[in-house]
Amino acid sequence: MIYREAGQYKTTYLNDSQIFPIAQDRYAVAALLLIAFIAIPLFATPYFFSAILIPFLIFSLAALGLNILTGYAGQISLGTAAFMAVGAFASYNFMLRVPGMPILVAFILGGICAAMVGILFGLPSLRIRGFYLAASTLATQFFVVWCLTKVPWFTNNSASGVITAQQIEILGFAFNTPARKYLLVLTIVAVLALLAKNMVRSTVGRSWMAVRDMDVAAEVIGFRIVRTKLTAFAVSSFYCGVAGALFAFCYLGTVEPEAYNLDLSFRILFMVIIGGLGSILGSFLGAGFIVLLPVVLSVIVHFTGMPNSVTSNVELMVFGAMIIFFLIVEPHGLARLWQIGKDKLRLWPFPH
C-alpha cells in the first residue's frame, strides 16, 4: 500500500534511467545515507566504529570488487586477498617514498597497481574458464603473499615483512579517531559504490554480463572478449586494492602480508555468494552477514552461561547451519531475498 509506484510517471529518458526508479526507494536511500553520514557519527560508540562499521564497510568494498568480477563478468577468482595486499603495500610504499604524497592519491595509485596486477593475472582467463580459472587465480594468492615476504623493498626492509601504515591526513586534517576514520571509509565506499552501480548499468557492465552469460555469443554480437574480460579484472582489482589499502590504513594499522591470506579470499567469496552474485546491494548484505553474524552469535551464546570451550564451537556450528539454511532457502543470495520481499510489498495487501 505504502510501497507502490502508482502515479509516478516517467516523462523523460533521464527520469526513466535513474538508479532508483521508484520514489520510495530514493527516499529510503537518501535517509540511509543521512543516517550513515550524520546520525551514526553523532551517536555511535567507538566500539561500533572501529570493530563493526569500519570492517563492515571495507569488506563490503572488497566484496563489491569481487562481485564485479565474479557476479557480473562471470570469472571466478580466489585471489581477492592478494589484490587487497597489492593495494595496501603499494599505498604504503607511495606514502613512504614520495614526499608529500596525498593519502587519497596513494589509495588510488594503490588501486591502480592492484588493477595492473589484476590484468596480468587475468590473462589466463582468456583461455581457461570456470574451476580451472579459479585454480589459476589461486596462483595470484600465493605468488603475491610470497613476493611480499620475499622482497624486502616492499616492506621497507622490515626483518619480518610487517608494515606500519602511516597517519592519515588530508589537507592538514588528521583522521585519527575511529569516527573520523569511519567517515573517510564511508565516503570512499559510497563514491566507489555509486561508480560501480553506474558502471554495471552502462556499456561496460552490459558487456561483462554478456560475456558472463555466454562468451561465444557475446563475441559474435561484437563484444571484444579480451578487452571485456581484462577490464573486469582491472576494475575488480582496483576496488579490491582500495579495500586492501583501507584495511591496512583505517582498520589494522600494522599488517603483515599473512593478513591477506587465502582465508580472507574465501571469506570474501562467501560474502559474494551469500549476499548475491551480480548485485551491488548483495555485496553489502553479504559482508554484513559474514562480519556481523559471528559477533551477534558470540554475544548471544556468551550469555547462555556455557563454558567458553563449548560456546566457541557452538558459535561456529550455528554460523555454518545458518549459511546452509540461507543457501537452501534462497540460493541466489540475500539480495534476491530482498528483491522478492520488495515485489511482494508492491502488491500488498492485494496479491493476485
Binding site: 570492517p55 626483518a159 602511516q166 597517519q167 589494522l252 599488517v255 593478513a259 550469555f303
Partner: protein, 439 residues
C-alpha cells in the same frame, strides 16, 4: 524467514541488556579480557595457554585475590583471526571498568591492536612472539614482549650450539641449516643469524618451507646433500611433526635438530611418535613439577573449576606458558597496587607502570611456588623484555626434560643494538619521539 530474523534480533537485544546489568555487578574487580582461540587450526595451543592463565586466575581468587581484589575475566573467541581479534579487543576494552591488560597470543592480532593499545592505555604482553623491537619501551610504551623475543631466542640458539661444540669459536666452518616456515614468523630471526654468521664464521643455509609444510622431502634432500652440523627448525603447526618424521626417514639425527619454542610442545612431538625421541627445542619454561602447578591441581581442579577438560595436560608446555603469563600479569598488577593503592582496582595506565617495573627474582619466584619455572625478570623503560634468557629441552619419548641446567643467554648487547636500530626506524616512520612515560 522474517520471523526468524526478528526473533534473533530480540534475543540479541535481550542478551545485550543482560550484558549491561552483569557489568554493573562486577565493577569492583580487576578485569582482564581473554582473547582466546579454542576452535580452528591452532586450538590446541590456544586452549592450553588460556586454560593455564584462567587456572592461575582461579588460584589467585581462591587465595583471596590480589590484596583482596579479585580478578574477573571474560573470554572472546578470536579463531586466531586478526579482524575477529580486533573486534574482541574493542568489545572488551571498556568493559567492567576497563581492561587491565591484553594478550592475544597471535601475531596478526597483536599487530592489529598494536596502535590501539597505546591510545586506549591498555598494556599488551606478547610472550615469546610479535615484534622483537617492541622491547624498547621508549618507542612502544604499552607493549611488553615479556621474558624473551625471537631475536633473543635466535641468539640463545647460537649460544647453545656454540657451547655444545665446545666454545663459540668452534662454530667456525660449521654448517647450520635454518629450516623455516616461509612467513614473517620464519624470517624474523634472519638479521640475528646473519650477524652471527659474519662474526662467528659458520655457514648459514636458509631453506624455506611453504605453509602448511606437510611435504618436505625436497627440503630434506637438500639438507642431506649439505650434510649440516645442525638444523634449526623454525616452524609451527603441522610442519614440525612432518619435519621430525622426514628427518627420521632421511636418517638425520634428531639430536642435531633444534626447534623454536613454537615447535616445542607435546602437540608437536606426539604426532611424530618415536621419531621425535631426542629432538631438542628452545623454551622459556623449565619442564617439571612446581608447587604452583600442584596448588592449581589441589585448589582449582579438585574444586571442579579447572579449565582444561583433559587433566593430563596440566603442566604441559602450553599450560605452563599460560600459568607463567598470568603470574607475570598478576605481579604487574600487584606492583601497580603497591604504588597506587593496595587493595584497589588499578587502571591500565597504572598496570603499565607495574609491568615496566617488574622484578621477579629467585626469592619472589620461590614465594610464588615457581622457582626456576621461568627466567628471572627485571624490566625497565629501556627493556620491556626483562630477561632474554632461554632454555633447551629434549623430548625423551614421554616428556620434555631440560637439557641446559642454567638459563642460556645470547649476545644481549648485540640484540639490544638491533632493537634500538629497528625501533628507531619505526619511530621515524610513525613520527614518535622516543621517551619514557612518567610513573
Amino acid at each position: 524467514m522474517k520471523l526468524t530474523l526478528l526473533k534473533a534480533l530480540t534475543v540479541s537485544a535481550v542478551a545485550a541488556a543482560s550484558a549491561v546489568t552483569s557489568t554493573l555487578a562486577t565493577a569492583q574487580e580487576q578485569f582482564v579480557p581473554i582473547l582466546s582461540y579454542r576452535v580452528g587450526l591452532y586450538a590446541s595451543g590456544g586452549s592450553g595457554f588460556f586454560g593455564g592463565a584462567i587456572d592461575y586466575f582461579n588460584l589467585v581468587n581462591a587465595n583471596g585475590g590480589i590484596n583482596g581484589v579479585k580478578i574477573s575475566w571474560e573470554e572472546c573467541e578470536t579463531e586466531y583471526n586478526a579482524s575477529r581479534g580486533v573486534e574482541c579487543y574493542e568489545r572488551l576494552k571498556k568493559k567492567n571498568g576497563g581492561a587491565s591488560l591484553v594478550e592475544p597470543l597471535g601475531t596478526g592480532i597483536a599487530y592489529g591492536i598494536l596502535d590501539r593499545v597505546g591510545v586506549d592505555k591498555v598494556p599488551m604482553t606478547t610472550l615469546g612472539y610479535g615484534r622483537s623491537d617492541a622491547a624498547n619501551g621508549q618507542v612502544f610504551p604499552y607493549v611488553f614482549p615479556l621474558i624473551t623475543s625471537y631475536w633473543n631466542q635466535a641468539a640463545g640458539m647460537i649460544k647453545y650450539l656454540g657451547d655444545k661444540a665446545g666454545g663459540m669459536d668452534k662454530l667456525k666452518g660449521k654448517k647450520i641449516v635454518h629450516l623455516y616456515h616461509d612467513s614473517a614468523f620464519g624470517k624474523e630471526p634472519f638479521p640475528v643469524l646473519e650477524a652471527y654468521e659474519k662474526s662467528l664464521g659458520f655457514q648459514l643455509i636458509k631453506i624455506p618451507v611453504a605453509h602448511p609444510g606437510t611435504e618436505q622431502n625436497s627440503q630434506w634432500l637438500q639438507i642431506r646433500q649439505a650434510n649440516p652440523d645442525y638444523v634449526i627448525l623454525w616452524g609451527w603447526g603441522v610442519m614440525n611433526a612432518v619435519a621430525i618424521k622426514t628427518a627420521a626417514r632421511n636418517g638425520f639425527p634428531r639430536e642435531k635438530m633444534l626447534g623454536v619454542w613454537w615447535a616445542g610442545s607435546e602437540e608437536d612431538v606426539i604426532p611424530a611418535g618415536d621419531a621425535a625421541k631426542g629432538y631438542t627445542t628452545m623454551t622459556f619454561n623449565t619442564p617439571g613439577s612446581y608447587p604452583v602447578i600442584e596448588e592449581i591441581k589441589k585448589k582449582v581442579y579438585a574444586a571442579g573449576k579447572g579449565n582444561l577438560a583433559d587433566k593430563d595436560r596440566i603442566g604441559s608446555v602450553y599450560h605452563m606458558r599460560g600459568v607463567t603469563a598470568a603470574m607475570l600479569w598478576v605481579e604487574g598488577i600487584r606492583n601497580a597496587q603497591n604504588k597506587y593503592g593496595k587493595g584497589k582496582v588499578v587502571t591500565g595506565e597504572q598496570i603499565r607502570w607495574g609491568l615496566e617495573n617488574l622484578n621477579v627474582d629467585e626469592k619472589r619466584q620461590r614465594e610464588l611456588g615457581a622457582l626456576n619455572m621461568f627466567p628471572t625478570i627485571k624490566t625497565s623503560c629501556q627493556d620491556h623484555e626483562g630477561s632474554g634468557a632461554v632454555k633447551v629441552q629434549v623430548w625423551d619419548g614421554k616428556a620434555w626434560k631440560a637439557v641446559t641446567p642454567n638459563w642460556v643467554q645470547g649476545d644481549r648487547a648485540m640484540i639490544q643494538k638491533m632493537v634500538a636500530e629497528s625501533s628507531a626506524k619505526y619511530a621515524a616512520e610513525k613520527k614518535i619521539t622516543p621517551a619514557c612515560l612518567p610513573g
